[in-house]
């Protein structure tokens, strides 16, 4: 019960403290929040969990902030000028931990962290730590790296925030659309980090996705940021998340879409996705998220209808026009095969020349299946040689067996 509480409250307290102290003091905010939880950890097991754990945590955090401010000899000389900038009410050492101030602070932090000046990788790390409350170890597991790498990455990102001294505030209305682009990219990457992570920790992977969805919902719930691309991204996330239970087996190996047990698809999330996709249709422009959500929507229909693949092909055509990516190019060619047959798709596939991409050879192997089995086998062998994970190799081995 305590773990989720800690994670949520950590992000809330850190956001409010950052807002109060200014972004240059992010480390202080994080430390105060951590110390607060440490105290809870040291006392609750012996004295019992307080009646209102949240209120207890806030009271402790407030006290620690007061102590920090009065203890800090440098306060007047060094931080005060910055504080004046960050919070005009600096005479009042109290902090506002009301629900509305918390959500405002979190949203503003989201914009501060997802600033175009911060490298995307650092944005994701910071978002995970500060906005989602993940521990360094958890982040390291998700990224399949070690704690010191993550610590270094976060340190550099905080240094950047500190030197740029970006304000924690909502961008002016005229800039929201542009700034929202960066925020959405980070949330999209955050979600993908969880969805496509090779980490064996299934719970962690799903948590990552759910956190990305929570932050996106926050944008959808705010009048200033409730824009069509936000709804489209949320729809996309819901459609993808609906397949959580179906896309990996009990050993963590990927189950390909066509082999998934659709009774395991989460109908509730599919319905939510459809709702958000409908909400997303308000604007005058079509974002990549609209197109990807459309593609994901058609994938929620398992049956191989001709209409389904025709729609998917058209959506991929448009997606590639907006933004090229090798994976979209490969998926488009797969959809083309479904609509126009393998021969037509082979002609186009061979033009792609993505010869360092294992999925390119997997696709060619699939397309040549039943046409030229020897060629199919050769391509799958090439894919196998390029495959980086045991899971991928297993998928390719299975394909070779049924040639």
């Amino acid at each position: 019960m305590l773990a989720p509480l800690f994670r949520t409250e950590f992000t809330k307290i850190t956001a409010v403290l950052c807002k109060r102290l200014g972004i240059s003091q992010m480390q202080v905010a994080e430390d105060i929040a951590s110390e607060t939880f440490l105290l809870a950890y040291e006392t609750w097991p012996y004295k019992g969990v307080p009646e209102n754990p949240t209120a207890w945590l806030y009271a402790v955090a407030k006290n620690k902030l007061k102590n920090h401010l009065s203890r800090n000899q440098l306060f007047e000389g060094k931080i005060a000028p910055e504080l004046k900038h960050a919070a005009p009410d600096r005479e009042e050492p109290d902090i506002d931990l009301s629900e509305s101030h918390i959500s405002d602070s979190q949203l503003q932090m989201l914009f501060a962290i997802c600033h175009p000046a911060i490298p995307p990788e650092a944005q994701i790390g910071l978002a995970l730590r500060i906005l989602c409350g993940f521990g360094i170890e958890e982040i390291a597991t998700a990224f399949l790296t070690n704690k010191s790498t993550i610590n270094k990455r976060l340190f550099r990102a905080k240094e950047k925030l500190r030197t740029d001294n970006l304000p924690i505030e909502m961008p002016p209305a005229a800039e929201v659309k542009h700034r929202l682009d960066t925020v959405l990219t980070t949330l999209y990457l955050l979600f993908n980090e969880g969805y496509y992570s090779e980490s064996h920790d299934a719970v962690l992977r799903e948590d990552l996705c759910l956190e990305a969805m929570r932050l996106t919902r926050m944008l959808a719930d705010n009048a200033l940021t409730a824009k069509p691309p936000v709804f489209a991204l949320l729809a996309l996330m819901c459609f993808h998340a609906s397949r959580f239970a179906a896309r990996k087996n009990e050993h963590g190996a990927i189950i390909l879409y066509e082999n998934q047990d659709e009774s395991l698809w989460n109908r509730d999330l599919i319905a939510q996705g459809a709702f958000y996709l409908h909400q997303a249709s308000g604007g005058d422009s079509v974002s990549r998220y609209h197109l990807e959500a459309g593609i994901a929507y058609w994938h929620t229909i398992k049956e191989d209808l001709a209409e389904k693949w025709q729609h998917i092909l058209q959506l991929y055509n448009r997606l590639l026009m907006v933004e090229y990516s090798p994976v979209a190019a490969l998926n488009r060619t797969f959809a083309l095969a479904k609509v126009k047959g393998n021969e037509a798709a082979i002609v186009e596939a061979e033009k792609l020349q993505l010869t360092d991409n294992q999925y390119y050879f997997t696709l060619l192997g699939e397309l040549y299946r039943g046409i030229e089995p020897e060629k199919a086998k050769g391509y799958l062998q090439k894919a196998y040689a390029l495959a980086k994970t045991a899971g991928d190799r297993e998928v390719i081995r299975n394909k070779m067996e049924v040639l």
Binding site: Y316, N317, L320, M321, Y324, A329, R332, T333
Partner: protein
């Protein structure tokens, strides 16, 4: 890598096509462009609808419509990336506009910025 404009030239567009036919053309065009975009060779493109078209002549006279005295007009263009004009021509050969009798696709190199 250079950029080339593929300019669609239509013969008299007054022939009325059925909505089904238009939809079919559109889908073919999207598939054609999608195939170029899948190779990361698509830059930009636009259709040029015939309605609300005007022609301004050298004596400043304005006439309605893209057609009239001229038998051929531009229906749209796509800009692609290609190593050579030959590659751009290969892209152009797949353009569905060429199914129309007398239509053509003009390939022109875009001036370097």
């Amino acid at each position: 890598m250079n950029e080339y404009a593929l300019i669609f030239r239509h013969m008299d567009g007054k022939e009325v096509a059925s909505p089904e036919q238009i939809q079919q053309w559109m889908q073919q065009t999207m598939d054609w462009i999608g195939g170029i975009a899948a190779q990361n060779k698509f830059v930009s493109g636009t259709g040029l609808p015939f309605d609300e078209a005007r022609v301004v002549h050298s004596n400043k006279m304005v006439t309605n419509g893209a057609f009239g005295d001229i038998k051929e007009t531009v229906g749209g263009l796509v800009i692609v990336r290609a190593e050579s004009v030959e590659e751009a021509v290969e892209f152009a050969k797949g353009c569905p506009v060429l199914q129309g009798e007398g239509n053509s696709v003009e390939v022109r190199k875009v001036a370097q910025k």
